[in-house]
């Protein structure tokens, strides 16, 4: 492996993904360096969720090569759990564990996977809850929190594993409009602290502010990937232009 791999956290090479007869990903190649912030956008069904779900192997890619932090993703189980503990994921529907309090939600993985002690895990959990600005909700159950609060807890939960890269799968799409900014603010802070992240989103304001690279996907292919200024001001492809005109009008 060449030394450039050390700064490449994620590498996808010619990745295809089939769901039965349907091809969700077509010949995807993408490299994400340490500290980079990548925003992936595109219409529904373009494969953007599938793309990031292949990175932590929630979906298995059909062909091609995916390397995460130097580990190639194959079907060997040991690899997968180890890789996943380095990759944080935030879901559109939060997926907080309903039967655990907020702080227990955060403590579960560090205790089981990193074998942290109860007090270590608790301290870390409180630290990240403060980071996402809701430490007072620690002993509440997820069902008692608003959507925006739940998503921030979800982010804190992922951060407790000290991941090298954070994946966000449409983190604000299920939120009522007034709660979107509280979550985006947290994500912006995270970006400014240097976290490597891949964010699938429709929030173009966020992309403009924070992204190093904006990737446009359509029908399973990467149509265009450019830094935000180029992407928004001088999109190369017609499909990109069409997409931008549709989502930027209102």
């Amino acid at each position: 492996m060449s030394d450039s791999d050390q700064t490449n956290i994620i590498e996808l090479e010619n990745v295809d993904k089939f769901f039965g007869g349907f091809q969700a990903l077509k010949n995807i190649s993408l490299t994400v360096k340490k500290g980079e912030r990548v925003v992936v956008c595109g219409p529904s069904g373009s494969g953007k969720s599938t793309l990031i779900r292949c990175i932590n192997r929630l979906e298995e890619h059909s062909s091609g090569k995916i390397v995460v932090n130097g580990h190639e993703l194959t079907s060997a189980v040991k690899d997968i759990d180890a890789v996943r503990s380095e990759v944080g994921m935030v879901f559109q529907s939060f997926n907080l564990f309903p039967h655990l309090t907020v702080v227990k939600n955060l403590m579960l993985a560090p205790r089981l996977v990193r074998k942290s002690s109860k007090s270590e895990a608790h301290d870390m959990a409180m630290k990240y809850l403060e980071r996402v600005k809701i430490p007072e909700q620690a002993d509440k159950y997820p069902s008692q929190l608003s959507g925006g609060q739940q998503q921030r807890v979800a982010i804190a939960r992922a951060l407790c594993m000290n991941p090298l890269v954070m994946l966000f799968d449409e983190p604000t799409s299920a939120l009522d409009p007034e709660m979107i900014s509280e979550v985006l603010d947290v994500m912006v802070d995270l970006a400014e602290e240097g976290m490597t992240m891949i964010v699938v989103t429709h929030e173009m304001g966020f992309a403009r502010k924070v992204a190093d690279l904006v990737v446009f996907m359509d029908q399973g292919e990467i149509v265009e990937s450019n830094p935000p200024t180029t992407f928004f001001e001088a999109p190369a492809s017609e499909r990109t232009k069409l997409f931008l005109s549709q989502i930027l009008t209102h």
């Binding site: 932590n56 380095e86 993985a109 089981l112 997820p142 008692q144």
Partner: protein, 231 residues
């Protein structure tokens, strides 16, 4: 035709002497059945066909045949087989009590494993994915995420099954056991007073059912305290 209240007063203590046996049958079968159900569940969801297939056949047979027939096969039928008479289990299988427990356990085990499976299937896929994304192993996910939620989901159906099990214990009276039902039938045979006796024992069974339902209702409330309306 009069209602013989004196007879009722006389018979209830006698019937209640059978309650010990009724509870033994119920509790023992419920506990053993639950253990069996968990084993069957793990085999069923293991993903390995050589574990899942026999389990599915077992469940199919025990849910597809009447429990009375299962009891008769074990109590009347097994002694026909030489290898059963020669086995170490013979002392248990020779006795009506052992046979009843075996039949009830095997039967409830099949039903409960399907109920548990329903609970497991009801756990939101996203929660399992979140666990996976955090790096939790499949075993950890099953123990800490799937199981607590599955148990809560399965509780209503499980409480119904416990009540069914309680009702099935009455069938032990068909193989000579003197549980409440057995005693009741004996008294009726002697006194020709089916209404008084059977209605009395029915009331006792209804009280037991009510107790079981309340207990489970309390358990369900406790387990659901964190699940209010979806946020």
């Amino acid at each position: 035709m009069s209602f013989d209240f004196a007879l009722i007063g006389d018979s209830i203590p006698k019937i209640l002497m059978g309650i010990g046996l009724t509870f033994q049958l119920l509790v023992l079968s419920a506990v053993l059945g639950l253990a069996l159900a968990i084993v069957l569940l793990l085999m069923r969801i293991s993903g390995r066909w050589y574990l899942a297939a026999p389990t599915m056949v077992y469940i199919y047979i025990f849910r597809g045949t009447p429990i009375l027939v299962q009891i008769f096969i074990i109590y009347y039928g097994l002694p026909q087989l030489e290898f059963v008479r020669d086995s170490i289990f013979w002392p248990i299988l020779r006795e009506a009590f052992g046979c009843a427990i075996l039949a009830l356990t095997l039967n409830t085990g099949a039903y409960v494993s399907e109920i548990l499976r329903g609970g497991v299937l009801g756990v939101d896929r996203g929660l399992k994915e979140a666990g996976a994304a955090l790096g939790l192993s499949a075993t950890h996910r099953f123990i800490y995420i799937t199981s607590p939620i599955a148990i809560r989901l399965a509780l209503p159906a499980y409480s119904n099954d416990v009540i069914s099990l309680m009702k099935s214990t009455a069938l032990a009276s068909t193989i000579t056991l003197l549980d409440m039902m057995g005693i009741a039938r004996t008294i009726v045979a002697e006194t020709y007073a089916p209404y008084e006796i059977f209605i009395s024992v029915m009331v006792i069974y209804l009280i037991i059912t009510w107790i079981i339902q309340r207990s489970f209702g309390w358990m369900e409330k406790r387990m659901s305290r964190h699940v209010r309306s979806e946020a």
